[in-house]
């Protein structure tokens, strides 16, 4: 069941949409903001609210990279794996993160703190290699700098 808050936020988003189904991506985003990810139940609830079938909503939810259909950790680490960061050696950083967090890409550390997701170009190629943690962008990374950054996220 969608909470009252979720319903209110979705209703607000729908104001900018000439038809309810146009707000599908926004509605999924609202659910994700409240619960961290979008479960099957979330898909069914959004569908009912927008007058769509669950299959339609799921086809949208699974298309986009930033709608998570599985649980994630408290913080999401997005490491850029595109060309400028590749040239600047992101592969070493990926190895470092995998070892440090004890996960493969897509996985969540055992303490539930971090989910590691490789991501396409973050638009910070002049500061490559780059990553984002939640909303914050970090460039010119080294393994030591990554260690220090992760400390800031309890």
């Amino acid at each position: 069941m969608l909470s009252v808050e979720e319903k209110q936020e979705i209703a607000k988003m729908l104001e900018a949409c000439p038809m309810p189904r146009a707000g599908c991506i926004e509605a999924l985003t609202v659910v994700q903001r409240h619960r961290g990810w979008v479960s099957d139940e979330g898909v069914i609830d959004v569908a009912a609210l927008l007058g769509m079938t669950p299959a339609e909503v799921d086809s949208v939810a699974t298309f986009y990279n930033f709608i998570f259909r599985g649980p994630v950790g408290r913080h999401v680490v997005l490491l850029c794996d595109s060309i400028s960061c590749w040239v600047m050696g992101y592969e070493n950083l990926l190895d470092h993160l995998k070892t440090k967090l004890g996960v493969e890409p897509g996985g969540t550390s055992a303490d539930g703190r971090f989910t590691l997701l490789p991501n396409v170009c973050l638009g910070a190629c002049d500061e490559a290699p780059a990553m984002m943690v939640d909303d914050e962008l970090y460039g010119r990374l080294t393994p030591a700098k990554i260690d220090e950054i992760l400390e800031r996220y309890p």
């Binding site: 991506i25 060309i83 396409v120 170009c121």
Partner: protein, 422 residues
Amino acid sequence: MERPLTQHIRPDRSPLSISEYEKTGGYQAARKALKTMDPKSVTDTVINATLRGRGGAGFSTGRKWSFIPKDAPPQRYLVVNADEMEPGTFKDRLLLEGNPHQLIEGMIIAAFAIQADTAYIFLRRAYRLAAARLEKALAEARAAGYLGKNIFGSGRSLEIHVHMSAGRYICGEETALINALEGRRANPRSKPPFPQISGLFGKPTIVNNVETLCNVPHIIGKGVDWFKSLALTEDGGTKLYGASGKVKKPGLWELPLGTSAREILEEHAGGMRDGLKFKGLLPGGASTDFLVEKHLDLPMDFNALGAAGSRLGTGTMIVMDDRTCPVGFVHNLIRFFAQESCGWCTPCREGLPWVEKTLAAIEAGKGKDGDVEILEMHAKALGMGNTYCALAPGAMEPLASALLYFRDDFTRHIKEQGCPWR
């Protein structure tokens, strides 16, 4: 040298408030357009200024606006393409973060020219700082009466909404972007009808890049001759050029359109890092063809790079040095395109993973005789005209040009059964 787009952007990119922006002459061009000009004369001015789209394809901006039929119904949309997911491209971010009011002013003028009263900014999700700054600037503009109803007492209205993308490279393609804005999967649409006839919610729609629209207030404010005089080449204006890779000073610079690749690489980016030599560059993002040493004195503009078999694209170059493996380089690019393919049409959905696997095998020392020919075959089969949209042809540009200029590197991998650089 004048730098209209970036002259007021501070080194730390902290954005101008509305009053700071107005002190620099901001919103005067919008006032002039809405109070003293009509939509057609605004459009004609932009056509005569020879502004070409900065999103990659380089189409005449004013002419695109003029394709909305004169008798089209009043409901029309302006959409700003701020997706910027092309690897190696980071120019619109500067304009969005550093001076959001400049974009809003460009949108007010463009919306007036096409007579739209609703506009959307389609923003990629990684640009959260830009989103926050845009929302603040939009609130300031609304409070000042520059958005909403009866702007500058002209009788015109405009609402601007920000749509945060849920992330997928194909969303940058204009018809896919329209589907995303309608809450659908972002598959491209077949053309015709073109969006100017039937776009968002079936209404006439113009999609423009951020940098394109940021030029508009300056053209209206200072005129056609001034704008044309900024460039070193037949198309008007300045361009945000950038460089990434192992150059001494990666970054972004606003320079006259038509500045040579050599000047950008050697003067502005400081040349290659010590001990490294220049091997090649992609002039404008991941989906452009390599340029090599013999091309460096060409002007970085639409026509000259087209004639050299490449494209200006987004104008932000990715530089490859002589210690970076060209096979690995292209493999990284193709992996991106294969992952981001929307899967709608068979050549792209099936072809890109095949190319990706072939490149992975060559890189890992498992290449076979004939692999280069297989790659060449795909470069043609996935080329322009064989797929639903330009994603797959774009992916083939770096591959085909790498096979042309760095062929020895591919054959050496296969012969030596390994990567000489690892």
